[in-house]
């Protein structure tokens, strides 16, 4: 009885919409004709989506942004955790919880703070580079297609690496001290300790964290939408952006639903097995 309310709410806002999404994707629902009952059209929306070059281009964009952002987050997060782990124990937690701040800030505000710093004319990044003579012309960070992708990756790393850091740090502090002491007695160097004790110990946690970050970065719509709206010239149009623009600006709810379902299938086949193997779920 006690657990009924939680499943009522989750059923209404997650599981029922998931089922509804499948039904919508097989029909011809339109944002401008919400009151009419949608007609069943079979797999037409899926055929249209999969034969659309825009879909494949934005799948590639999504993968490029997600894989690079997650990779850098893992490297930076692990490196930070390793640095913190070498501090006296009573500072460790303090340092980690301060550095966690970006993770809880509103994404929209994060996007704005970076949009301001990267602004072509007034932004501090260009001003510093210009004054120090590294560049001669101001760079349009969010106006150039490949630089925009790079900026999105940078901001995604800034905002989310703390998540990797705290989880890796917690795992680091659970390594038994005796392992290190035994290795040190055998004359192992600091590098050997990291390579042969720390990283193998972390492997398990890193796989889980990387999978979770992959899942959430792949589906992160807010940041890119506020920064670039998917531009310039569709360079940062990831799949979530495509779902949103198709559904709410292009009025084609059914094709957007089909697209969401394809994303779900991609994610379930890539990420879920890894998370499940790690026994988290």
């Amino acid at each position: 009885m006690l657990i009924v309310p939680v499943f009522l709410v989750l059923g209404l806002v997650i599981f029922y919409p998931l089922a509804m999404n499948l039904r919508l994707s097989l029909s011809d629902a339109d944002l401008l004709r919400l009151r009419q009952a949608p007609q069943f059209v079979g797999l037409a929306n899926y055929v249209k989506t999969l034969s659309d070059p825009v879909f494949w281009a934005s799948l590639a964009t999504t993968l490029i942004i997600t894989v690079s952002a997650v990779f850098i987050q893992i490297v930076l997060g692990t490196a930070t955790a390793l640095l913190i782990d070498r501090q006296p124990r009573r500072f460790q937690f303090f340092l980690a919880s301060i550095l966690f701040l970006p993770y809880v800030l509103p994404t929209v505000a994060i996007a704005m703070m970076w949009k301001w710093m990267l602004n072509e004319t007034y932004g501090i990044v260009n001003q510093v580079f210009l004054t120090s003579g590294i560049i001669e012309q101001p760079i349009s960070w969010l106006g150039n297609p490949s630089l925009a992708v790079l900026s999105v990756i940078l901001i995604e790393v800034w905002a989310r690496f703390p998540f990797v850091m705290v989880i890796v740090l917690a795992s680091l502090t659970s390594i038994p001290e005796q392992l290190y002491e035994a290795a040190k007695l055998d004359g192992a160097s600091w590098r050997q300790l990291i390579l042969h004790i720390t990283l193998p110990w972390l492997k398990f946690v890193l796989i889980i964290v990387a999978s979770i970050r992959f899942l959430w970065t792949f589906n992160h719509l807010e940041l890119i939408w506020v920064l670039t709206k998917g531009g310039p010239s569709k360079a940062t149009t990831t799949l979530p952006i495509l779902v949103f623009t198709r559904g709410f600006l292009g009025y084609d709810l059914s094709r957007a639903a089909a697209l969401s379902f394809i994303m779900l299938v991609i994610l379930m086949s890539i990420v879920m097995p890894r998370i499940q193997k790690a026994n988290v779920v």
Binding site: F93, F100, L101, V104, P106, L169, I208
Partner: protein, 274 residues
């Protein structure tokens, strides 16, 4: 290399990371109190010549900042309160009772926790349309529950796990009912946990832009993230408003963060590594 140069390198690395993390946040704060003339002069100035609240005054005149602030407060408050209440019962149920399908149901909670909301924005819009909840805060509270509630259950269960089962057992032998242990033992012992979970749920809902963007289109209903995004128009960006609005939206989060981050980081890692 000797020990000393290692620790110098170590401090150097950590300082670099601190600069990387805090420079953007500080720059946002500083810019928001810089006089407009200096803000748009195009020359580097690490600190403004004088501090001004001009942008903030302009903001209160130009945009419905107060009503948006209260909208955000209302939505985030209701979302976290509702989620906390439901998750207290759910966590107690999962911890104290054995029932058929317990494992499967628990995996459904974890699935919901990991589930990215963007995959259901289309059907959710339909659902809110047919429930006549478009453009209402109740609809937004429901939508926000889809990600706040699973996290609340997840975090709270890691708090409940720290309460020894023996205390409950002792109360049961003394004649307390199972529900009695909830009100007499579990709830009093997890009050700090409730605060953490409630405040974190509040932050999550406060920060969310995605669902508000889809479900609300009347500006009197706007929450703060929507108001920020609205300051970017295709033909003009209102930088002064953007900077100050971002600061106003971040400040409550930073205050709460300073207050609970110890507990939160602990709860998150305990849950993730159980």
């Amino acid at each position: 290399m000797n020990k000393i140069s290692y620790s110098i390198l170590n401090y150097f690395g950590l300082s670099l990371i601190f600069v990387f993390v805090f420079l953007p946040i500080c720059w946002l704060m500083i810019s928001s109190v810089t006089p407009p003339a200096e803000l748009f002069s195009g020359t580097i100035r690490l600190l403004p010549s004088r501090l001004t609240l001009e942008h903030y005054f302009n903001l209160t005149k130009a945009r419905p900042i107060l009503s948006s602030f209260f909208n955000s407060l209302k939505v985030a408050g209701f979302t976290s309160g509702l989620s906390l209440l439901i998750s207290i019962f759910a966590c107690f149920g999962f911890r104290s009772f054995t029932f058929w399908g317990k494992k499967t149901l628990w995996s459904l909670i974890l699935f919901s926790y990991l589930f990215p909301g963007v995959l259901i924005i289309i059907p959710l819009y339909f659902l809110m349309f047919s429930l006549r909840l478009l453009n209402t805060h109740s609809g937004l509270v429901l939508a926000h529950s889809s990600f706040v509630l699973p996290l609340a259950v997840y975090l709270l269960s890691s708090f409940f796990r720290t309460i020894p089962v023996e205390i409950g057992d002792a109360a049961l032998t003394d004649g307390c009912s199972k529900m009695g242990t909830l009100f007499r033992i579990t709830i009093p012992l997890s009050l700090p946990g409730f605060l953490t979970v409630g405040l974190f749920g509040f932050i999550l809902s406060w920060n969310n832009y995605l669902f508000a963007m889809i479900l609300l289109n009347r500006s009197s209903k706007y929450t703060l993230p929507l108001l920020i995004a609205q300051a970017i128009q295709p033909d003009q960006i209102f930088w002064g408003d953007l900077l100050t609005l971002s600061v106003v939206t971040c400040l409550p989060v930073i205050v709460i963060f300073v207050f609970i981050n110890r507990h939160f980081v602990k709860g998150l890692t305990a849950g993730a590594l159980k």
